[in-house]
Symmetry: C2
Subunit: 415 residues, 2 copies
């Protein structure tokens, strides 16, 4: 395990900062009166890369001027490595660049964070073994919990890119068609079983046409974000047969503001679990392609303190993002820069490590008691849900920034 | 029913041309050495609107210079009406503009046609009553053919925008995970049950955030294309539970090259069929929002003549595109300019009017005999599938141009 890389930015050398020099996550920020610009987080500051490129201190062919990381990602692995090496050198303890960089540093507390990428298309997977087992158990009983294909295919479906928002964006409780178990006909109204899903999002940084291998897929992933795949369970239950979730998953998907690059996560690579059934060759991993990232979910009622309701780890996934991306291309499906792949809900084996309220409250039957004394089965108006993740190194950690959203009341129905 | 509008372009006055003055469909074309440019089809010619705007004969704020109709669509209904009125006047019999327009006309035979829009996101529906009944009958028996939600919801799922291609683009037979009924484990190989789906595509021309009504949805639809939702039935059968079709539908979706505007189709509006169960208010149509468009499917083995294998009509749909779009927004899902909505397979009530080979060959059990004497259950390498559609007026017709694609052999497997 690598150690902390010291920086002349003092706050980047703390064991608690999510943004040491080892991390260098990319985001898009603005301050009062400025337009969104590319930046990198370091300690409690953000370095204005757009301004640096504008002044000739960096040269990414103008990609840093676009208010999104898509153009830079499109430049490919050599460009990715070059910028990371440059920034690492410039921000390292003892760097001769300190004096000329100081003017480009902005306190994170003053920065408004925007979507780091323009999401081209969004795919969501269902690749957490425990989550699939829990959900399957609730609906079909434990003996039939896993669908027959589950141990062979990284099951996925296409989501809605237009609904992806950055952390901090309020989420409006959706209306939808709902039919209760004891109702004869559906009605149209607000979801009563609105839920979170704790996921990681992988960002495709290079295009492909035709099938690619797992190794190629791994190389094409630029980085990772935390991802909350908000889900209306009651809308989903009525709509999802036979073609899958649609409006139940289209209200919002929240991502964390900082893209943690695959390069930064390199020391934390870990293997997917032992296979219960042999995988087909095209899904075989040539090396460890998951990451050891500790994850947690917090819920805070409006104006009140939070309760951590789940602690789990990204290594619980049965399929890696590289396997998912490789599978995504089998039919010839073209992948593009900015495609976002949700991992699927990440639940651990214990009750306390489940990644959704559906599982935590076992379908609403076992309410959770919060620190405030209130109980929850699903999300209530005013609740803020926050996902956090850290990869823990030797005396340092790599974080993503909070992935948070507050649920606000449903809008009036329109007919 | 309106009559033919005469044009000084002689070929536009034929009762057989798909492109009379009444139509004015928008496309993107190039000729040798030119980049893709916006144009409108008139008779057997295409009018170079990009060049006309460049020379000051039209002014759409540069939207016609972008090689796509997205920027123009974003300008909204007034701009749509203005350009259509201008072109109608300029191309009408007796117009004073004839002499200065002649230089902007290019024979269609010399034009290469490109994607008319950049597809932002692609959604596919399952809204044909006969298709859903046929497919359901094959898998669950006629008594359980329609899922319980089908008569209440325009069932849809998100497709893959990156796979949408323009007519004429070859389609590569997909590889995928397949498990035969008598096989214990899946294998990875070429689909053996590759199929077409005859659909119409509706193009969203105005953005929305939050729920919109059916009337608003109707107004937001810019126009229509023919759409072939190529489908690998064997891949789909193994992958689609529980989250719907994924790689089975991601190989390609072919659209016709010309966008026929809602304005051109106005005389052909017709109502959705009588409801078997009352719809929820938010799905009620304030007027006829389907269209009477005669459709056909032809298949031609490599180097041989074609056989028409299906004749049906867009009015067979149970839900209109306006209803589908309105439903799409119920959860708050933002819609954007360039979103494409597939209608779902359009099958009529008779065997000869089924819109897929799955239905025409009844799951492969009843092979079709072609004019060549060959038989087909599913598509074979080298076959070209062509969709055609016309709305029939009084002495004229409105066409879309062929929506065609040839299937080529699968690529080698990669592991």
């Amino acid at each position: 395990m690598t150690a902390l890389k010291p920086s002349w930015v003092a706050s980047a050398n703390s064991a608690d900062t999510p943004f040491p020099l080892n991390n260098l996550p990319y985001g898009v920020f603005s301050t009062d009166g400025t337009s969104p610009r590319c930046g990198v987080a370091i300690g409690d500051l953000v370095l204005d890369l757009a301004a640096m490129e504008g002044d000739g201190l960096l040269d990414c062919n103008g990609a840093l001027q676009t208010g999104s990381w898509n153009a830079f990602m499109a430049q490919g692995k050599d460009a990715w490595a070059r910028l990371r090496a440059q920034l690492t050198a410039m921000l390292a303890e003892g760097s001769a660049d300190q004096s000329r960089l100081t003017g480009y540093l902005v306190p994170l507390a003053q920065a408004k964070l925007h979507m780091p990428i323009s999401v081209t298309e969004y795919t969501d997977f269902y690749a957490g073994r425990n989550h699939a087992f829990n959900v399957g158990s609730m609906f079909r009983g434990p003996e039939n919990a896993l669908p027959p294909n589950w141990l062979h295919i990284p099951i996925g479906y296409n989501g809605r890119a237009s609904s992806v928002v950055v952390s901090g964006t309020p989420v409006v409780r959706p209306n939808g068609q709902i039919k209760g178990a004891n109702e004869d006909v559906p009605r149209f109204g607000p979801s009563q079983r609105f839920d979170l899903e704790l996921e990681m999002g992988a960002i495709v940084g290079q295009p492909s046409s035709g099938q690619i291998t797992v190794a190629e897929a791994f190389d094409n992933i630029f980085g990772y974000v935390l991802l909350n795949d908000w889900s209306a369970r009651d809308i989903q239950a009525w709509e999802y047969q036979p073609l899958g979730p649609f409006q139940a998953k289209a209200t919002a998907t929240t991502i964390s503001p900082w893209i943690v690059t695959a390069a930064a996560l390199e020391p934390f690579r870990t293997s997917t679990p032992e296979r219960e059934k042999p995988l087909l060759d095209y899904l075989a991993e040539p090396g460890p392609m998951l990451y050891d990232i500790a994850l947690e979910v917090a819920i805070a009622p409006a104006g009140k303190g939070e309760t951590i309701i789940s602690r789990t780890n990204y290594r619980e996934m049965y399929y890696s993002a590289a396997q998912q991306l490789a599978h995504h291309t089998t039919s010839g499906c073209p992948m593009r820069v900015g495609d976002l792949l949700g991992s699927g809900t990440i639940s651990g084996p214990t009750k306390e490590s489940r990644g959704s309220l559906l599982e935590l409250s076992w379908g609403g039957k076992e309410p959770l008691t919060l620190n405030t004394g209130e109980t929850r089965t699903f999300i209530e108006d005013g609740d803020t849900l926050t996902l956090r993740g850290v990869a823990k190194g030797d005396g340092y950690q790599i974080g993503f920034g909070d992935c948070a959203g507050q649920l606000v009341a449903a809008r009036p129905l329109r007919t």
